[in-house]
């Protein structure tokens, strides 16, 4: 065996444990889900399991609840992703400008992201509680009546997004801070000498320099937002009147409460296609003009 072959083999051996786990717990379920998506597969009625072609997909497109859940998910994505990017970028720039205490602030901002989603939701349920909640207590102190944070259709999604921002901003801000710190200071100094103000510095230097990292942050957060489940499920169970029931929750209920695994798998694949299309579009858009 040559040296190169030995190196390749040892590389493969190092990879093998993860690759096996990846194949068993990611690739195999994906393949099974693909097969299931073309089957009528009701766990309560195994004698009726059979191939149905694309029926599950066409049923999903015609399903009012699927469309409603898709719109709910899209609303979450549209509110969450830009909100997250703007808030995280603001926080990162603030930290970047700090000369003292940056590490402490960074650690504090990162802290919420370390909580499990269940812990975060329980905490925020107390914040949002109609009667004893912190937010309504503060509103009462200002002479304002209680707000229906989670119990009104027009408020619930915003409340879920607010909690998600609190939970996720720290991690994204730290990634952006690291990217900001990589931008050479000389570029800013040269531009400042040429008379550039804060706005041109931000739009002509900071943003273009951050573009590769922004691409990563936008795409990963968009994918995560499309898969939202824990926050609405724990805070509102998808209510009021299903106004916060996203696609993943609907898929979960279809597959694991109603045991319609075939239909659930088909909806999962449709979600995957939508997420892939969005990720690809964002990738192409943000890559334009990049070096």
């Amino acid at each position: 065996m040559t040296y190169v072959q030995k190196r390749s083999l040892s590389g493969l051996l190092f990879l093998a444990p993860y690759a096996l786990a990846f194949a068993a717990f990611v690739l195999a379920p994906i393949a099974v889900a693909l097969v299931l998506a073309f089957m009528q597969f009701d766990l309560t009625s195994r004698s009726t399991i059979h191939f149905v072609g694309a029926k599950n997909f066409s049923d999903a497109v015609k399903d009012d609840y699927f469309r409603q859940a898709f719109v709910v998910t899209l609303r979450y994505v549209v509110l969450m992703v830009p909100g997250l990017i703007v808030a995280s970028l603001g926080m990162a720039m603030g930290m970047n400008a700090m000369t003292r205490g940056r590490n402490t602030v960074r650690a504090l901002l990162f802290l919420p992201g370390m909580f499990n989603v269940a812990v975060t939701a329980i905490l925020w349920m107390w914040f949002y509680d109609g009667q004893f909640g912190l937010f309504n207590y503060l509103l009462k102190g200002m002479g304002v009546g209680p707000a229906p944070w989670l119990s009104d259709k027009s408020w619930a999604m915003g409340s879920i997004v607010l909690m998600s921002l609190w939970w996720a901003c720290g991690g994204t801000a730290i990634i952006l801070l690291a990217a900001l710190q990589q931008i050479p200071k000389q570029i800013f100094e040269a531009a400042a000498i040429d008379g550039a103000g804060p706005a041109p510095l931000f739009s002509k230097i900071t943003l273009p320099q951050l573009k590769p990292v922004l691409l990563f942050v936008v795409v990963t957060n968009t994918i995560a937002a499309f898969q939202v489940f824990g926050q609405p499920y724990l805070l509102t169970r998808g209510g009021p009147e299903l106004s916060t029931r996203g696609l993943v929750q609907y898929i979960y209920e279809t597959a694991f409460n109603n045991y319609r695994l075939g239909y659930g798998a088909a909806m999962s694949w449709l979600l995957f296609l939508v997420v892939a299309a969005f990720a690809l579009a964002q990738y192409r858009f943000l890559r334009r003009g990049s070096v």
Binding site: Q40, D42, L43, T44, S45, R46, T48, H50, G130, Q131, G145, P146, A147, P148, W149, S151, D152, G239, P240, E241, L242, E253, F256, N257, N258, Y259
Partner: protein, 422 residues
Amino acid sequence: MTPKAALGAMAIACLGLGLLQAGVNPVAPSKKKLELNFWNGWTGPDGRIALLMIRKFNEENPDLHVSMQRMPWDTYYNKLMVACTDGRGPEIFVVHASTLPRMQRAGFLDRVDDLYSGPEGVPKSDFEPYVLNQTVFDEHNVGLPLDIHPQGMYCNMKLLRSAGFDRPPQTKVEFLRAVRALTKDTDGDGLPDQWGFSMSQWQNNYQSLVPQFDGRYLDADGNPTLNSPADVRALEFFEQLAKEKLLPPPENMLGWIGFRQGKVAMVWDGVYMLGDLKRLNDLEYVGAPIPVIGNHPGTMADSHVLCVRTDLTHEQREGAERFIRYFSAHSVEWADAGQVPARLSVRHSAAFGKMQVQSAFAKQIPNMLYPARTPVLFEIALEINLAVEKVIRGRADAQDALDVANKNSQGFIARDRAEQRK
């Protein structure tokens, strides 16, 4: 003692201790215990009582050892379905009567007709036929009803007396009078902060009135009748309460918590909530039947049914049946967890008679209605829930909301029938 002898003595001592630790009697080796797994969703105070009963059973049956695993109901049903369809489920498990059609269709519920026959059998005459029939499929019993959990009314007697009521209201007129008298602004901020009545589980509250108006969810052919005039009238009652602002607004819907805090005088909920109230020392409460709002008394109910898995060995099956019979025979102990025993003989016992809330709720048993008996119950239940929610929030009237629920339910049932034909 030489070092060699000391080592030998130590080795013998270790062996003896090891045997004792392993539960092996070196003098008279006993038969190995048969292990039985018992799954349920009793994660509240009821689970602790079940655990005590199981300990007693294990003590009285030295050849068996029953281990209980409990988990929240929604997780439980997922796990049970997957485990049992794969042949790895527990030997004994609990299924709600309303969920039996799905589980029965999945094919892992064994027939238990022999539980009701023979000298040690539980007599069928010890159950209401309506309750027992919930467990019958193709003329065979697939489980034994352990209890009945009807919805009923919990009343804060201190508040009721403050408004001049010395007993829980029994009629619509009395109920509305009490609700109006007890809904007040006590702190002078212009908004009510004490409520005569608050809905707890919206859907269950509505379903508690459906039988009072002779409503049903399905007709004899299994087609949905959610928008029948009777069902609509039941929902209109809550629509009226919401319109008259006799219900707390949704953002401040106090429900059960409000009752616990003494801010709500009356709340309708299941008998199983009693375990929660028992922990409170300063709340003076009584249980009562749901007032007659419709044509006659009535309420919603369900049952925990003890079932066994198919493919058990003879020994496992015998042990499981012994356990089920024991649990059923001792269901007065179980009643203390906040349940009404399914067996008439237990309900007629003096011990049960002393349980005020359970006895009061049990009075409704002749007029109770279980949820729709269909494998697509969860989907239909969601539609009912949505309809009630829309009405309480004032987004639809009762007729429109139930029309939508009925139309969607027709779709679920038609789809299910079409899938079953293939």
